[in-house]
Amino acid sequence: MKCQDFHEIVDSYLCDELLTETNHEVLRHLEMCAACRNLIQDRRILREKLKSAVKNAELFQMREGFHQELLVNLRQNSETAESPKRFFKINKNSWIAVAACLILTLGLGFWFLRYRDVNSFPAEIAGVDEAAKQVSLESIALGDHQNCAVKFNLPEDPIDIDLASPQYADLKRVVLNPLENASDKYEFDESHTCKFQGNDFTHIVFLHQGKIVSVLLTDFHKFGNLKNDEMTKTSVGDYQIARFDRKNQAVFVVSDLSEQENFATAELLASSARQQISFNERAETNLLVALKIAF
């Protein structure tokens, strides 16, 4: 190793980030080269001085009592908050309850799949005042875009999607992949779950052509669904809202892009979602056959 080579990796050597073999080469070089030994010594001294200067500086010390206040606040928080941990803990005596739940779930699943196949949802769920409700859900999605992605004006803080639940992370992947692979550039900005006018949204924000684009997913059960493969577009002021449905969710693309560009973004997501659903439906059909045999 030459001095020049050493100078190139001296920072990583100092941080102990080199491979063992490279480390050995460095040590061999240092045995031979006094100049580099001095250099590394200087750097170590500076590093230690920096560490002690910052750690001892009054500016960076917590004020007296802060740690205690923190403990008290967190303690109160832990007492009022529900512990998610306990949902995953099952004691020995709960196995019967778990088995009963499983049978019930399978039964309901069977019922759901069977009735879904013959397209016999009860009319009062799917059909009543659908047009009015659809408009309403779109206006709520637009409101969420304006108050969450654009102005940060929500009464409740959004929860980061990774912290919210692992299943949302999966959903994020469903939306992220098609947009990241698109020929037009979509720059991922953030993803979270948020609440607007009582509706929970999974909210993924992109930047496209310098504008904020919201992809919002929400349960449409209260509002009614679109027909298969149907897509809608609506303009409200400068905003464009495109919608398609994915299983039991409405997916909105809301932005102030042009009508054509906003709709193209929604089409991109819809085609990817359809592919996923057809794959899942094949899996469900297999499950249905298996359940019919079992019952």
């Binding site: 920072d11 990583s12 980030e17 001294i45 920096l50 500086a57 940060f152 912290l163 930047l207």
Partner: protein, 197 residues
């Protein structure tokens, strides 16, 4: 009644684990928060919010892994979210290229340099570089961990660390000259009145 006691004991045990694993890092988190917020009240708020979030998702923390790095990741998430709320700005311009060529020489580190000198010099390092120098040299995080906090590639961490340290040494060279220590830009040894090496 038995279930109630059991539920309480689970909460109690979660809290005890949290207190034991996470709370000892409050001082470290506060230091990082001070670098991010540059103001005591805002730093305290950030630390508090970080611990609240950490407590909420503590069931996802894997015991035995690096708790300080886990907490710092949450702190950065929280900080960026607050920034985004406050400003609605997206940082796109990077000052790295502008700064890259401004520091030209290596200076030896004089023993006489005080903590105040070091802090003053650190204060002159641009924020992008300073935070990586602090995370690496003061807090002892690995490249990989820093890359994950800042959501940048490891190569960016390495280059910013290199430049940050270089700028810091450049700033300290000013103090070195004041102490009468030779620097490579002039090649001369200047002795300040009343000082000796």
């Amino acid at each position: 009644m038995f279930k109630l006691i059991k539920r309480k004991s689970e909460k109690e045990s979660l809290w005890e684990d949290f207190e034991q694993e996470a709370m000892p890092f409050s001082a470290d988190l506060f230091r990082v928060a001070m670098f991010l917020k540059r103001e005591r009240d805002a730093a305290e708020d950030l630390v508090q919010e970080t611990f609240v979030q950490a407590l909420k998702s503590f069931h996802r923390y894997e015991q035995g892994t690096n708790c300080k790095a886990w907490l710092t990741t949450i702190m950065y998430h929280t900080h960026y979210k607050q920034l985004r709320k406050q400003t609605n700005l997206h940082l796109v311009a990077d000052t790295e290229e502008k700064i890259a060529g401004t520091v030209a020489f290596e200076a030896p580190i004089p023993q006489q340099i005080t903590d105040e000198d070091v802090l003053q010099a650190l204060g002159k390092v641009p924020q992008n570089f300073k935070e990586i120098v602090v995370l690496c040299d003061v807090e002892g995080f690995a490249y990989k961990e820093i890359a994950s906090f800042l959501d940048v590639p490891i190569g960016t961490v390495m280059s910013r660390l290199h430049r940050g340290r270089k700028i810091l040494r450049g700033e300290l060279a000013v103090f070195a000259r004041n102490y009468g220590i030779k620097t490579e830009d002039t090649g001369e040894v200047k002795y300040k009145e009343g000082k000796s090496l």
